[in-house]
């Protein structure tokens, strides 16, 4: 059983397999992946839902953590670049350190790129979940450092976009450094006569 103590007693991993509607379930046999996950080390509960990122999906994660006393969470859904912040927040809401989450990318890296290869894609999905659980079992809680922010901004380029951004921030009360390469601000906009759709002058 538990080789690693995460600081929360023996390892208790929860796996959430997301179908993402048919985005994942259309290619990957999610039932089979969920069943497979049940047999992985320290996995105490497995969910198989339609949309894990939805409000009910997130509530379910929170409930599952509380009810099953989970201390590691694996979510097999989309790219962590998409929803890692969402799920980290769900863990935090359930009182679990957000770094005790691991994701398996069954959508961008599996179902969407192996369309029509259900068996092979399901096999890969199982591997991805297995790898995620293996990693999750060794995850440790981390404390994020809070650093102060200098309440000043730099805008690089003084064309129409830079002018607008600088004015908005300056009006909001921030000190703004506007850096322009040319001797004057204005950019390409200043060279244009009238502008659409209003047909008035640019400067």
């Amino acid at each position: 059983m538990a080789e690693v103590d995460g600081g929360n007693g023996p390892l208790r991993v929860g796996v959430f397999v997301c179908q993402c509607g048919l985005n994942i379930a259309g290619t990957v046999d999610c039932d089979s992946v969920a069943k497979f996950s049940e047999g992985l080390d320290d996995v105490v509960v497995v969910y198989n839902n339609k949309y894990t990122c939805s409000e009910p999906g997130q509530l379910e994660i929170r409930k599952a953590i509380e009810e099953n006393d989970l201390n590691r969470v694996v979510i097999a859904s989309c790219s962590p670049r998409m929803h890692e912040p969402t799920f980290r927040a769900a863990l935090e809401a359930a009182g679990l350190n957000p770094y005790l989450l691991e994701m398996a990318n069954l959508r961008e890296h599996c179902s969407w790129v192996h369309i029509g290869e259900k068996d092979a894609a399901t096999g890969k999905a199982k591997d991805l979940v297995k790898m995620a659980v293996a990693r999750a079992r060794r995850l440790e809680a981390q404390e994020e450092m809070v650093v102060p922010i200098t309440q000043k901004a730099m805008v690089v380029g003084g064309g129409i976009a830079g002018i607008q951004a600088a004015l908005d921030l300056a009006d909001a009360g921030y000190k703004v450094y506007l850096i322009e390469k040319e001797p004057s601000i204005g950019g390409i906009m200043a060279q244009i006569d009238k502008t659409y759709p209003t047909m008035d002058c640019s400067i």
Binding site: W112, L139, M145, Q151, Y196
Partner: protein, 619 residues
């Protein structure tokens, strides 16, 4: 523009460039180079006396060479700051025999021929990148005859000709005879939407710009005939279709088809346009006194400078890549950096203003809280294992590690300065550096889990979070299909991939291991990716010595924009995998069995490891 000049909260540095950036979200230290202007901005009243006496004339950049300026000049009348600038390369200088006239007449004595570049240091919490775009140069599209035929001009040149502040005071004339043209032809999509010549993307604003130009001509000269040659008119914004209809009602003729050739009449200098009218299905020849090429946008030539300073990424078209195309359209992947305007993609004024507002709001959202949480993915030293060899100090791209190699005290990490690439951890010969959230044990557990069953059928690929992993995501969103044999392990940077991970994978029976990182210019961690390459090159030698084919370790650079390349690489590694024999794998497993044993405690191997460190240092 004038509002910027007088706003109490805006410090404008015109004629300046960003020279260096260090730090991280909330705490960027920036060095700005204020280029020598040779005119004191604060003192200059833009009276123009200097310009009157300057004997030098040069093409006026603001007027795209359609008129001239002096060596000392104001870029344009409404310039902000309202001050002159001296082009020292054109100036004859202050040798009284040569010239020095401007200084003589300047009442304020604000001209200084010995002015020097000045470096200023600023500290900011957020950065908004709005470096804009360049325009496409249509000279290579020879069929249109730009620069060969004088009456073929670009849409930017047209802007200056129709502008009342321009060189002709807004009178539309031909460049050859200064006569008003009776017929004007516009050619659309010049340099845009052509994968072979120019650029494959749509430049967004050119259709509506031409619609606007047609209305301007018709307002000033109702009798001028206008023909617009187009492939599609994209009038998709609010009020745009209405404007398009107005230009048609005013008499503009729209012809679907891009001319294959523009020919000049040697005597009249008028032009003939040969075109396939794809609505009528006919070959036609149209005459025009003037042709305007509606040119598209290209990324700024100097984009790579700011890209490297702020560790940004660019998409395949060369414009800056946003953190997410739908959900974070103005955020850069680098926390605290935002995009607005054409730096991100070609767009018109309304969209630029909208995006600038969004970027300002995103920056405000960060700054107003006064503090920010930074990800806990940083390195920590295990003092007991550290031999104070100092390698990590050299590896760290952020100078976040310090170590007194003479005093032999363990290295220390400034956590706030550590960006979390993990190159130090991979390079440390003693296993004395742990990367939080990407520890050796965690990654080794993934390797072992993946290769536990049917290892021979699988390719292990390491992918960096910012580029290669995202390239894989893009392959997914674009549904680029590839064989299902690869399994990715994500690290923040490819520089984190310890050689022990690679050897472990081979020892566990992996037929092929792929390391994929970002292109050198895209590295999110300044230059950490260099360590990846160095390490892989050494590994190839090591594998060869052990009788393992080096081809079984692949190295690829895949950017976040290269979904297609990601899929191609995945297909290629699968082909390689099929060539690896079972005997080869067995041989490798035996040859590398030693790497599966845990690291020996330092005391037992101290001498050996110190020798290894010395050898590494020498290398």
């Amino acid at each position: 523009m004038a509002d910027v000049g007088r706003h109490p909260n805006i410090e404008l540095h015109a004629y300046s460039e960003v020279d260096a950036v260090s730090g991280y979200v909330g705490n960027f230290n920036v060095t700005v180079r204020k280029k020598a202007r040779y005119v004191d901005v604060k003192e200059c009243t833009a009276c123009g006396d200097c310009e009157d006496v300057c004997p030098i004339t040069a093409p006026d950049e603001f007027e795209i060479g359609l008129s001239t300026r002096k060596a000392i000049y104001q870029p344009f009348p409404q310039a902000v700051p309202s001050a002159y600038v001296l082009n020292i390369d054109e100036c004859l200088g202050n040798n009284p025999i040569a010239c020095g006239k401007c200084l003589e007449v300047c009442d304020k004595k604000c001209i200084d021929y010995d002015d020097k570049d000045e470096l200023i240091h600023i500290e900011v919490g957020t950065v908004i990148v709005c470096i804009g775009m360049d325009v496409y140069d249509p000279t290579p599209l020879d069929e249109f005859g730009y620069t060969r035929h004088e009456n073929v001009i670009t849409s930017m040149e047209f802007e200056r000709l129709i502008n009342s502040g321009g060189p002709t005071q807004g009178h539309l004339i031909r460049l050859t005879d200064r006569e008003q043209p009776k017929t004007v032809a516009f050619i659309q999509c010049v340099g845009s939407r052509d994968a072979n010549r120019g650029n494959p993307y749509c430049s967004n604003f050119c259709c509506m710009n031409t619609v606007k130009d047609c209305l301007l001509i018709k307002d000033h000269y109702p009798d001028v005939d206008i023909k617009v040659f187009y492939m599609d008119i994209r009038a998709f914004g609010k009020g745009f279709e209405d404007l398009f209809q107005r230009s048609k009602d005013a008499g503009t003729i729209y012809i679907r088809g891009i001319p294959g050739e523009v020919e000049e009449d040697p005597e009249t200098k008028s032009l003939k346009l040969y075109v396939e009218n794809t609505t009528e299905g006919t070959m036609e020849c149209h005459e025009a006194d003037m042709v305007v090429l509606s040119i598209g946008a290209i990324p700024r030539k100097d984009s790579s400078t700011i890209q490297q300073l702020l560790t940004l990424q660019r998409s395949q078209d060369g414009f800056f890549l946003e953190a997410h195309p739908k959900l974070k359209p103005v955020d850069a992947a680098t926390q605290g950096v935002f995009f607005a305007g054409c730096a991100e993609s070609p767009k018109d004024i309304k969209d630029s203003v909208t995006q600038a507002g969004a970027a300002a709001a995103r920056a405000n959202r960060l700054m107003m809280q006064g503090k920010v949480k930074v990800e806990a993915i940083t390195s920590t030293i295990i003092p007991d294992l550290c031999t104070s060899c100092g390698i990590c100090v050299k590896v760290c791209p952020y100078n976040a590690i310090s170590c007194d190699t003479k005093a032999k005290t363990p290295a220390t990490v400034v956590e706030a300065a550590c960006a979390g690439c993990g190159a130090c951890s991979a390079e440390c010969p003693f296993g004395a550096i742990t990367m939080k959230h990407f520890t050796d044990v965690q990654i080794e557990a993934q390797i072992d889990a993946m290769l536990e069953v049917d290892a021979k059928d699988k390719v292990l690929a390491f992918a960096c979070n910012w580029c290669s992993y995202s390239g894989g995501d893009l392959a997914g969103t674009n549904r680029f299909q590839y064989p299902p044999n690869t399994r990715l392990i994500r690290t923040m940077c490819s520089g984190r991939v310890d050689k022990r991970f690679v050897l472990r994978a081979f020892a566990r029976g992996a037929p092929i291991v792929l390391l994929s990182g970002c292109h050198f210019a895209d590295c999110h961690y300044i230059n950490a990716v260099h360590w990846t390459q160095r390490r892989v090159e050494k590994l190839w030698d090591e594998l060869e010595k052990k009788g393992i084919r080096p081809e079984r370790l692949q190295l690829e650079w895949i950017s976040a924009a290269e979904g297609q390349k990601f899929a191609t690489v995945m297909r290629a590694v699968e082909e390689l995998r099929q060539k690896v024999t079972a005997e080869e794998i067995e041989h490798t497993k035996k040859a590398l069995a030693g790497v599966l044993e845990p690291r020996k405690p330092r005391a037992a191997t101290k001498k050996a490891t110190e020798q290894e460190a010395a050898a590494q240092e020498a290398a």
